[in-house]
């Protein structure tokens, strides 16, 4: 069957209705006229001819109707009638319609919002050419499950791993752009010339970096990010080839990268990189052996690696190849076996979204439950309405409306509701996505890209359609069983509630409560888990601390002495400001970035063979311990004594003591930082409690603190990137602009960036569980409210439909409390079943949350008890109001009615 003819005909029927009607009328008229003339030619009288022609034709209007039927648009015409009728009947009951539309809007809006998030994070391809073929390469060894590559590793993987079709190194950094009026600090990436081609991204203007530029002391060039180009250079296309001031010296702009381009590890970070310069390094400057050969030290492990998979190669294959290669290295004695050295890759999609995928899928499932609850609620409301409309429907059946037509009428009605619910839902989703973008904690990849768009609209339409079916099908089934004779005979009133419909509604409420319980259990577990995370002692006090990064470029601060004196003066200036309690600067803020280690020589400690004595190095200015409220366990903190002249002093953490000074008093012991020839030797002056620097949930490593002035005594140890930390007894945000002003007074050229309170830093370090908690909490609350509406509805219905019975009971001497109890029982029984069912299902389903939870099992009894109590209370409150009405049943009034 040529279906396109059918569709064409239907479309024509819909679009050219009037023309077709005209033509049909004329055609039939012509036919009768021709027949009449034929009769005349046969010799009949004019009157007889016309009469016979009409008789032979049959009923004109009837055939017109038959022709209309055959046009293929009848179903549509009827649907239009149904919709018009549904619309009219919905308009008559505004309160009912409003409630249903609101319920649907909440369900559809929540679902659409989450779909928007899922789409932005998981479904939208990363901004790379063929991202499936891109792998991020990592090294790993004891204590470092996922860490950087060395130059030697890069060379080996690049030339010997057949699964890779090119490997490139990059790292993140920042640059100061100082041409024009304002200097600006932007995050930057140092990338090998091969990185952009590996990522499959071409510049929108200009060209890739060349190998010549990607060499030590090569020509200075820079590639600009789209947003930076628009913001700072007003999208000027002639920027290519122009020299701009980068870190105080001239660099040629060779490329503008496309909008939305990011390096593979940029997605989760608080600020994306916006400019890229060549990495410009080689084996010699890295201290590595040129070519694929391996050195034991292999150059420092400093770099992120990214690789393009060879065609037909897989991540698994690459990992097998790397494992074989490393096994050989260990066999050859390059790496000691107990280092547990390993090299592996992760597909770039997994790298970017792997962490959040599970949370999002769980949330998507959760929001599906919310939608189901909303639909169940609406179905319940429609059932009640169906009850009230039994007579109307019976009349329709009696007048010849078929069951199918009736079903369609009811589905059309719920369709109208769903369309309005969907429209309102789109509004809610737009709002929801805006909220997600506004409030999504930094550290979650790609959330900022979640927008309402066409796909989302299509999705909403689909959801609304499904919702319409779900809501409409039950009432329609009920209507299908309307027997007009009974309905009309009965006189529309019975002493007790019509059993069938009530049972349906009760089932719906049970299901609703069960679904809500699952969501609330999930939310409860997340809340407990996040509370556990917040309860972890980070080793410092984030409250009242504001932080900002300040960069002192070599162009203006040539040596360490100038850098140190800048910080001393700035600190003195800030210390006198109002509301400032303490001020200091630090190399790396805890929980903001991972800290690397340094090989140490610890007095009286000999490491086991093949193991070093690594210590994480932190550099601070005097006052840091007070500002962050680190707890000094013994000895003293670093202070103004530890300046350029003072003897080299070091403070170590408790883990350091446990590891390298087990059973010995560390105070006064000597620790050498760096190699035996060039390293500086410090004396331990104090011990502080452990700070969870890398993550709240990760093990603390041995760590030491030295002052900026002392650290700078070794040549080349000038630290230009420091973070200012200031403690106040006021709202820390109120200090931001005075602090900026103070820095401007010191040196207006200096860029200030990454301004955050310490509490924000801590918060974003647990962004993912918090995000999951907030959304699950929201969904759980929504589910509870919707279930409460459902329970309220059913108890109201019970009370209303049994008012006659209650009247009789009351007349026979039942006390009000007994009536209340009777009506409450109706809601509570369903709720209890739903609660039990929900807990059982929750125990099964929340197992999927295991990896999201910290310090709480999916079977956590406290959560489960809490959920039972909360849900029970909501059920009670929802039932109480209508049940109380039962108590006031006036026997006279009710019985009189009949």
């Amino acid at each position: 069957m040529a279906w396109y003819h059918e569709i064409g005909a239907t479309l024509r029927a819909l679009l050219r209705r009037d023309q077709q009607e005209r033509e049909m009328a004329e055609e039939l008229r012509t036919h009768i006229e021709m027949e009449r003339q034929y009769n005349m030619r046969k010799g009949l009288s004019p009157d007889e001819s016309a009469a016979r022609a009409r008789r032979a034709f049959g009923g004109v209007e009837r055939y017109k109707d038959d022709v209309r039927d055959e046009r293929g648009s009848r179903w549509f015409d009827e649907l239009r009638q149904d919709i018009r009728f549904g619309w009219a009947s919905l308009r008559r009951r505004k309160g009912f319609t409003g409630l249903v539309v609101l319920t649907l809007a909440l369900g559809i809006g929540a679902t659409t919002t989450l779909f928007g998030v899922v789409k932005a994070v998981l479904l939208k391809p990363l901004p790379y050419g063929n991202p499936e073929g891109i792998a991020v390469v990592w090294s790993s060894w004891k204590g470092f499950p996922q860490t950087w590559l060395s130059y030697d590793e890069f060379e080996a993987w690049n030339s010997d791993i057949k699964s890779f079709n090119g490997v490139g190194l990059f790292t993140d950094n920042s640059v100061t752009l100082s041409d024009g009026d304002a200097s600006e600090r932007v995050r930057s990436g140092d990338v090998m010339a091969s990185v952009f081609p590996i990522l499959g991204v071409s510049p929108i203007l200009g060209r890739y970096f060349t190998p010549e530029e990607d060499r030590p002391n090569g020509p200075k060039v820079i590639a600009l990010g789209y947003d930076l180009w628009q913001r700072r250079y007003a999208g000027d296309r002639s920027i290519i080839g122009r020299a701009i001031q980068v870190n105080g010296s001239a660099s040629t702009v060779v490329a503008v990268m496309p909008q939305g381009f990011r390096l593979p590890l940029d997605f989760g970070s608080d600020g994306k990189t916006e400019a890229w310069v060549p990495l410009a390094t080689d084996a010699a400057s890295e201290g590595a052996i040129p070519g694929p050969a391996f050195d034991k030290s292999g150059g420092s492990h400093n770099w992120y690696g990214v690789a393009r998979l060879a065609s037909a190669a897989t991540i698994e294959g690459a990992n097998r190849e790397l494992a074989t290669y490393v096994a050989q290295l260990v066999k050859d004695g390059v790496y000691a076996p107990d280092l547990h050295f390993r090299a592996f890759t992760i597909g770039v999609n997994d790298q970017v979204t792997g962490g959040i995928r599970r949370a999002l899928l769980i949330l998507f499932g959760a929001v599906g439950f919310v939608l189901l609850i909303a639909c169940a609620n609406v179905a319940g409301l429609l059932l009640v309405r169906g009850e009230a409309r039994r007579r109307e429907l019976a009349v329709r059946v009696a007048l010849g409306a078929g069951t199918r037509r009736l079903t369609r009428l009811l589905i059309a009605e719920s369709g109208v509701l769903a369309v309005f619910g969907g429209a309102a839902g789109v509004g809610l989703a737009t709002l929801g996505l805006w909220l997600v973008r506004r409030t999504a904690p930094a550290g979650l990849p790609r959330l900022a890209e979640a927008h309402a768009d066409g796909t989302l609209l299509v999705f909403t339409l689909g959801v609304a359609f499904v919702a319409a079916l779900l809501c409409g099908v039950l009432p329609a089934l009920q209507a299908g069983r309307v027997a007009p004779a009974n309905e009309l005979k009965e006189g529309g009133r019975a002493a007790t509630a019509g059993g069938g419909k009530l049972r349906w509604r009760q089932t719906l409420v049970t299901v609703e409560v069960a679904l809500a319980v699952i969501l609330v259990v999930g939310a409860g577990l997340m809340i407990r888990s996040v509370a556990n995370l917040f309860a972890i002692d980070p080793g410092f006090d984030p409250k009242g601390v504001v932080t900002m990064r300040v960069f002192t470029p070599a162009a203006w601060y040539q040596d360490s002495a100038r850098v140190v004196s800048f910080w001393e003066q700035l600190q003195r200036r800030i210390a006198t400001m109002r509301a400032v309690e303490n001020v200091a600067a630090v190399r790396l803020l805890p929980l903001a970035s991972e800290m690397g280690d340094w090989g140490l020589g610890v007095e009286g400690y000999t490491p086991p063979p093949n193991e070093g004595t690594p210590g994480d190095w932190q550099v601070v200015t005097p006052g840091y311990f007070e500002t962050m409220r680190l707890r000094v366990v013994s000895g003293r903190p670093l202070d103004t004594r530890d300046d350029f002249q003072g003897p080299l002093a070091m403070v170590i953490n408790k883990r350091f003591v446990e590891k390298y000074f087990a059973g010995r008093d560390p105070l006064g012991k000597r620790v050498r930082v760096g190699g035996s020839d060039s390293g500086l030797t410090y004396a331990v002056v104090g011990v502080v409690d452990d700070v969870r620097h890398n993550a709240l949930t990760r093990d603390v490593k041995a760590q030491f603190y030295v002052t900026l002035a002392h650290f700078a005594r070794a040549p080349g140890n000038t630290l230009r990137n420091m973070t200012l930390v200031v403690r106040t007894d006021q709202n820390p945000r109120s200090l931001i602009s005075p602090l900026r002003a103070a820095i401007r007074v010191m040196d207006p050229r200096l860029p200030v960036f990454d301004v955050r309170t310490m509490e924000e830093v801590v918060g974003s370090s647990i962004a993912e569980p918090r995000f999951a908690m907030e959304l699950l909490g929201l969904f759980g609350a929504l589910a509870l409210v919707l279930s409460a509406i459902g329970i309220f509805g059913i108890v109201s219905q019970v009370v209303a439909s049994r008012s006659h019975e209650f009247g009789i009971r009351s007349a026979l001497g039942a006390r009000p409390q007994q009536l209340v109890k009777l009506s409450l029982a109706a809601g509570l029984r369903q709720a209890a079943v739903g609660l039990t069912l929900g807990i059982v299902l929750a125990l099964l389903l929340t197992r999927a949350m295991g990896q999201l939870l910290h310090g709480v099992k999916p079977t956590d009894p406290i959560t489960l008890v809490g959920v039972v109590v909360v849900t029970g209370l909501v059920v009670l409150i929802a039932s109480a109001a209508p049940a109380r009405r039962a108590a006031h049943t006036q026997p006279g009034a009710v019985l009189h009615e009949g």
Binding site: E6, A9, H31, E35, Y38, V60, Y63
Partner: protein, 115 residues
Amino acid sequence: MPPNQRSEILQGTLELLVLKILTLEPMHGWGISFRLRQISNDVFDVNQGSLYPALQRMLRRGWVKSEWHASDNNRHARYYAITREGSKQLTAEREEWERSSGAVNRVLRFAPQGA
């Protein structure tokens, strides 16, 4: 739905005949109905109007197409013509008809022998 079923058998035959008639030349509705009466010796004793729903259905299925032309006596009339799909349909229906009527004939011929 017994009434429908009967008319369906009728419809199938009617369509077959209309297609057959239209293989001769494009024709307007009255012309078709006139031919029907001629061919079948007025066996098809149905209302002439019932032709039009059938034509509309065949239009929808793409078996015939229609155009407005001036008729012989300069009257504006809608002419129907068979399409390629209509021809295919006619062949298929005729084969089907011959197969089934052949089977019926065989049964009818067999019956007297057995009796």
